[in-house]
């Protein structure tokens, strides 16, 4: 009958079978094996991530990139750019006439894009109300666990250049 075959195909009828003979029991030894193997897997994964981060630091020569002309940004204005890769969004801010700062635009909480609010003088993340100082990128308020990574800037005449990341002090 169509009704019966439909019932048989449902996933839960295999997982939780009516027939006692089809019950699957996990032995204590199987469970312990699963735990040990999973722990080793987690350890290997973490070691790999750690090794990768070490290698990433070694080759660290980041490109120097022209990002904007100093005069094109008004005081209190921003310019969005990508640095170092084409998918790494960053934000260049001119909080005062003689000051330019640039940060990664990815909030350190859950990677929402932060925006600059000139009235407050803060970089704000709209997702969970996280706020960063525009002066040095430190967390002022909200859930972000780390300051925003700051882009090191250099000035060559009228051009603003991104030269790398500012190391956290």
């Amino acid at each position: 009958m169509p009704e019966e075959s439909a019932v048989k195909k449902r996933l839960w009828t295999e997982e939780f079978s009516v027939q006692a003979a089809e019950d699957k029991y996990v032995l204590r030894r199987q469970f312990a094996k699963f735990l040990v193997l999973t722990s080793f897997g987690m350890l290997a994964g973490n070691l790999w991530i750690w090794a990768r981060s070490l290698m990433g630091r070694n080759k660290s020569a980041l490109p120097t990139q022209e990002i904007a002309k100093a005069s094109e940004i008004p005081v209190g204005g921003v310019k969005l750019f990508n640095y170092p890769g084409p998918n790494d969004n960053c934000i260049l801010v001119r909080p005062a006439a003689d000051r330019y700062v640039a940060y990664s635009q990815k909030c350190t909480h859950l990677s929402c894009a932060v925006y600059y609010s000139h009235q407050d003088g803060k970089l704000a993340c709209p997702c969970h109300q996280g706020f960063f100082s525009v002066e040095d990128g430190r967390v002022l308020q909200g859930p972000p666990p780390r300051p925003l990574p700051q882009v090191a800037l250099a000035r060559k005449g009228e051009q603003l250049l991104a030269t790398g990341w500012v190391e956290e002090s």
């Binding site: 939780f16 009516v18 006692a20």
Partner: protein, 204 residues
């Protein structure tokens, strides 16, 4: 008594309720009976029918159980609800086409006939079958029941679109292959309509 099967013969039931009393005597569920003896049509006749669990091959009660509390063993016996799992939701009570499961709200547990699992698993007959004076409930090897009875055992039932095959057999007159029950025939509306039709026939 290994190899025996359970047979219910409603035509033999005399309504003595010995089975009800004997079931309640069982140590595993003392004081609670898991068998019912119902009048078929109380206003017009005194015929009764004993109802034990039919132990379906695909038990509807277990299929609808959200807590996976009802299990059918390898021997084909559908066990009573597992106490640690049953949440007394009454799904099985509503779903069973034979109306067998009963929920005991005070215990938060569904209890139903498990064909005296403590007895039949060691080769004894179920309590009800041992006490039934007319052997309306009998636990016999299949070849013996064919020798001793005129009626034929039937274990396929049709409830609307659902075909139910059971371990327990119902003794029916010869030539009745499967018992077909349409629930709509027994609703109040249908009985009412049937009554009106018969009244019209009487007037004519």
């Amino acid at each position: 008594m290994f190899g025996s099967e359970f047979y219910v013969d409603p035509s033999r039931c005399i309504g003595c309720r010995s089975c009800v009393a004997a079931c309640a005597e069982c140590d595993s569920h003392r004081g609670v009976t898991m068998i019912t003896v119902d009048f078929i049509d109380r206003p017009d006749m005194i015929a009764t029918v004993p109802m034990v669990c039919m132990h379906c091959d695909e038990p509807t009660c277990a299929l609808v159980c959200p807590a996976d509390a009802i299990k059918r063993g390898e021997d084909g016996i559908v066990r009573s609800a597992l106490k640690p799992r049953c949440i007394a939701c009454s799904n099985c009570v509503l779903a069973c086409p034979f109306g067998v499961p009963k929920v005991h709200v005070d215990l938060e547990l569904m209890m139903k006939c498990d064909m005296c699992y403590d007895r039949t698993s060691v080769g004894l007959r179920p309590m009800c079958a041992t006490v039934c004076p007319s052997q309306a409930l009998s636990f016999l090897p299949p070849e013996q029941i064919l020798q001793r009875r005129r009626e034929q055992p039937v274990n396929v039932f049709q409830f609307g679109n659902q075909t139910v095959k059971t371990k327990v057999s119902l003794m029916l007159p010869d030539g009745v292959p499967a018992l077909s029950v349409d629930v709509a025939d027994y609703t109040w509306e249908e009985e009412h309509a049937r009554g009106e039709r018969s009244e019209e026939a009487f007037v004519d």
